[in-house]
Amino acid sequence: MTEELMIAGCLKNNASAQEALYNRFSPRMLGVCYRFGKNREDAEDMLQEGFVKVFTQMFQYRNEGSLEGWIRRIVVHTCINLLKKNKKFSDSLDIAYANGMHIREDMIPSIMQAKQVVECIRLLPLGYRTVLNLYAIEGFCHKEISVLLDIEESTSRSQYTRAKAMLEEILIRKKIILKPKEKIVYQAAVAPR
């Protein structure tokens, strides 16, 4: 079924068109939700709410940009709203907690790269993770993030910087990426002390 047919069917509340659209986009959208959610159950709840909104607001889609992008945006907003509703997000912006967090090697599963990276992202504190997800992966700017999360723009920037550093450290320790050269040089320089 083509996208046009699916959209037309969804606008008529046709169940088979809705199912086709769901089957096409739900795996990738669940991946998005999984990055925001606490666990798989949370992610599935987010996906469910997101798709209900997609179908009920389908009339707003104006064929400007890709359908997947539009769906993704709705799903991301649903995730953010659910996090805010459950007060998970605001409670997890404690930087001190995040700095003191210790990432154990055995916490990182050894599976495929995409899954590994996502699991590494999920190891971050919720506040860091959300800002990183929105900025690095979903393409929001810090100003938009500050509006979405009700935080200062500068907070968003600092959260992202810390999140990025922490994620990088995790990925290096897991040997998913190699250490950058400058850091090796830096370590070599300080070693004689």
Partner: protein, 510 residues
């Protein structure tokens, strides 16, 4: 696996890796989405549940009726088989041994063969036994009762013979009287005459009869004295046996219980009601305690926060609502009736405005007062000029509830009763189209997730219960009020629904 080295492209690497990540959702997700999008498709399953519930109740009712009939037929068969007079006659409080019983007394073997023998009427030949008694109890009871009866009758006969002796001095008369006495009690003692009277009793009587030739008073009185001694000893024995027979006491108790006024069974107290209540439904719309009418002070001017109706340019209208369901009523006393059941509710009221195909972003007043501008862009209707409002949308919910109520009988007439009462109704909202008013009062946002899933309704009603044979028809006014807001806890606006309707129904006892 490819190892990414470049830190400069770290973000790109993370993005690409994350974008490649997919997960297959469980089927539960699609089913939930489907049910949200097509709430009407839930009706078959709800109807099926109701059908099954009714079926279970019906099967239970039929089985109970059948078992009672079976018990009655067994009882009748047993009483016929043992041909025991007065067993079915509940008014007959005196033990009336029949000729059949006395001439052919039921012994322990007979009791064994008759599995159910009522003890409701104790008999002189001691053949009664309760169905609940063990066979051993039956045998013991039969044996003891037989002995007691034998002794009792023997004493009576001897007493009678002595009385006769007192009044009749001649041997012939005595003989005749004794024989007549025995003969008059033939019904009672025929069996005993055959084999139950012990030899000593027989001897007494025989001696009395045979030793009355050449008669003198002393000679006649001599056996009388002997008999009196015998009587004393026999009466002592009888008293001893009577004190040691609990089963006979049980029989007396059972007899007493049988003559008590019969208690009403639960079936006579319970009834099944089916009803429907068409009503007119409307709502109260208020700013909640945490309502913030002006979350964006730069954009919107301040708005009053108390009476939303006064500042709402939309027209809201009452609309037709419906409740239907069934319940089981139980008369806990002469005037109090308790009810519990299952009820489906359709609540509804109308909003008149202009539906637009050009949605505009709007905000809802949430508890924390922050904007949900992107989240809530779903636009149902808006109004620019109230005089041109032509489109109508309905604010609808579908509910299922369990009414638990108590009713008081105000009037108790021959043909009708009047009840007043109320109920609490825990309610689950399984669907609907809530149109939530925006914080600037210009728009309504149609968003299913804004509905509160669980709520509590109350109802107050009065009705006339008109009796036509086994069936009662009921009709009367009802007022129903929703205790909690229609919307979930994040929405600052509180909307509470109420209905005024007329209930009609039919009820039948089990």
């Amino acid at each position: 696996m490819e190892k990414r080295i470049y830190t400069d492209n770290f973000e790109r690497f993370v993005k690409e890796s994350a974008d490649d990540f997919k997960m297959i959702p469980s089927k539960r997700v699609w089913h939930s989405i489907y049910n949200d999008l097509h709430p009407s498709r839930k009706w078959p399953s709800v109807l099926m549940c109701l059908f099954l519930l009714t079926g279970v109740l019906f099967v239970g009712y039929v089985n109970t009726t059948t078992s009672n009939n079976d018990l009655a037929s067994i009882k009748n068969t047993t009483t016929d088989d043992i041909n025991y007079a007065g067993l079915e006659n509940k008014n007959n409080t005196q033990p009336l041994p029949s000729k059949t019983n006395t001439t052919t007394p039921i012994n322990a073997d007979d009791v064994k063969s008759n599995t159910i023998v009522s003890l409701s009427q104790p008999s002189t030949n001691g053949t009664n036994a309760t169905s609940s008694q063990s066979l051993q109890d039956k045998n013991e009871y039969t044996s003891k009762n037989k002995n007691a009866t034998k002794l009792f009758i023997a004493v009576n006969n001897i007493s009678k013979s002595n009385k006769k002796i007192k009044t009749n001095a001649t041997f012939n008369k005595l003989t005749t009287t004794t024989k007549t006495s025995i003969s008059s009690n033939e019904d009672d003692v025929a069996a005993i005459e055959n084999d139950n009277l012990n030899s000593s009793n027989k001897d007494i009587i025989d001696n009395t009869i045979t030793s009355n030739e050449g008669i003198t008073i002393e000679e006649v009185l001599a056996p009388k004295l002997q008999n009196e001694n015998k009587i004393n000893s026999l009466e002592k024995t009888l008293a001893q046996i009577q004190t040691n027979k609990p089963t006979e006491k049980l029989a007396v108790q059972d007899l007493a219980n049988q003559n008590k006024p019969k208690k009403k069974s639960w079936k006579e107290k319970a009834s099944m009601e089916f009803y429907a209540t068409p009503s007119i439904g409307y709502r109260t719309l208020n700013a909640g305690p945490k309502y913030d009418a002006n979350p964006f002070s730069a954009n919107n001017g301040p708005l009053p926060t108390t009476n939303l109706d006064a500042t709402n340019p939309m027209k809201n209208n009452a609309a037709l609502n419906l409740e239907t369901g069934f319940n089981v009523a139980y008369a806990s006393s002469k005037r109090i009736k308790l009810k519990a059941g299952l009820q489906l509710n359709l609540t509804n009221y109308g909003i008149t405005g202009n539906i637009t195909s050009h949605p505009s972003p709007t905000t809802l007043a949430t508890i924390n007062g922050t904007t949900q501008a992107i989240e809530y862009t779903s636009l149902s209707s808006y109004i620019a000029n109230n005089s041109n409002a032509i489109d109508k949308v309905h604010n609808t919910t579908y509910q299922i509830s369990i009414p638990l109520g108590a009713y008081f009988k105000l009037l108790d007439k021959t043909n009708f009763d009047v009840f007043v009462g109320g109920s609490l109704q825990p309610t689950y909202i399984f669907g609907g189209k809530p149109n939530v008013i925006s914080s600037d009062r210009k728009y309504y946002v149609n968003e299913g997730s804004l509905l509160r899933k669980w709520n509590m309704n109350t109802a107050a009603e009065a009705y006339i219960n008109y009796k036509v044979g086994d069936i009662n028809f009921l009709a009367g006014p009802q007022f129903r009020y929703q205790l909690f807001s229609t919307y979930n806890k994040n929405i600052a606006v509180t909307e509470k629904l109420y209905n005024i309707g007329f209930k009609v129904g039919v009820s039948k006892s089990f």
